[in-house]
């Protein structure tokens, strides 16, 4: 397996969908290639950071700003 091929397998590896043979080749490459160790690590952190941004709900506000609630209700009444 080359570094190029290794990169192509990253998503399947992270999703846990590599076949046993592919997984073995993936790990054999990882054991001898420091660049791909780094690439895997930074790639995984990138994906993790995105998922955290969406999943934690840290960015969900405590409430919808009241003026926005009122604007929404007012425009509904206008349309009704």
């Amino acid at each position: 397996m080359t570094c190029r091929e290794f990169a192509e397998f990253l998503d399947a590896f992270l999703a846990g969908t590599l076949l046993a043979e592919e997984m073995a080749a993936f790990h054999r490459h990882l054991a001898v290639c420091v660049h791909c160790v780094t690439y895997l690590d930074t790639y995984r952190r990138t994906v993790d950071a995105c998922r955290r941004l969406g999943a934690t709900g840290e960015d969900v506000p405590a409430e919808v700003p009241e003026e926005l609630v009122q604007a929404i209700l007012a425009s509904r009444r206008k349309q009704a």
């Binding site: 990138t46 840290e58 509904r76 349309q79």
Partner: protein
């Protein structure tokens, strides 16, 4: 000290049954509209902010979504949850808004994905991220860093990252929203993640 009431009881009295809310909306009862906005607006506003990365656009988007929902409530089918239904409407509305924004010059994805030598080795070996960089990425302020990097992705790649990795939609659902095949979603997502890694790499380097 008095015992706290059981949570389900509390929840039931605070949030009337979804069916009742839907019926009240269909009857056009004013308090029901306000209730829908207060109950689901927070989550939807967060989604709009994530997708649009602009407060004014996010607020406009939320307003549009509720107007669509108020009008379409007749068509809402009780077999899916209101949350899911509203999430779909906001993703769709935000995508249309994203596409209508004046297109900005974008960097080419080719400059952001790794390059390889003829025999398949990394042409520019990746650098490990320092402890400092890793902490920055985990810290609360990383949201800003990450959003800035996502904003720099070419549009079609940004969309796929937003829907798959940020909003957590399935490959199939993402394909439906973007009108592309599941396989095209996978290919685009892979290139988008690679490009995002490069962009984060650059931003993290600037921090140190």
């Amino acid at each position: 000290m008095t015992e706290l009431p059981d949570l389900p009881v509390l929840a039931a009295s605070a949030e009337p049954d979804e069916c009742q809310l839907v019926q009240a909306l269909r009857r056009g009862e004013e308090p029901a509209f306000a209730q829908l906005v207060r109950l689901h607006g927070r989550q939807l506003l967060a989604t709009a902010r994530r997708l649009l990365n602009n407060e004014e656009d996010a607020r406009d988007c939320l307003q549009e979504v509720f107007l669509i929902a108020f009008r379409a409530i007749e068509k809402f089918e009780a077999k899916c949850r209101l949350t899911t239904w509203l999430h779909r409407i906001i993703v769709n509305t935000a995508l249309m808004k994203l596409r209508s924004r004046r297109s900005r010059p974008e960097c080419s994805i080719d400059d952001l994905v790794p390059r390889f030598t003829e025999d398949g080795h990394h042409l520019e070996p990746p650098c490990p991220w320092s402890d400092h960089a890793t902490r920055s990425l985990q810290a609360a302020e990383s949201h800003r860093l990450l959003r800035r990097a996502i904003e720099q992705l070419p549009e079609s790649y940004r969309e796929v990252v937003l829907l798959r990795d940020i909003e957590g939609l399935s490959t199939e659902a993402t394909g439906q929203f973007l009108a592309i095949t599941a396989n095209a979603v996978k290919i685009r997502l892979h290139r988008a993640r690679q490009a995002l890694r490069t962009l984060l790499d650059r931003h993290l380097e600037d921090l140190t």
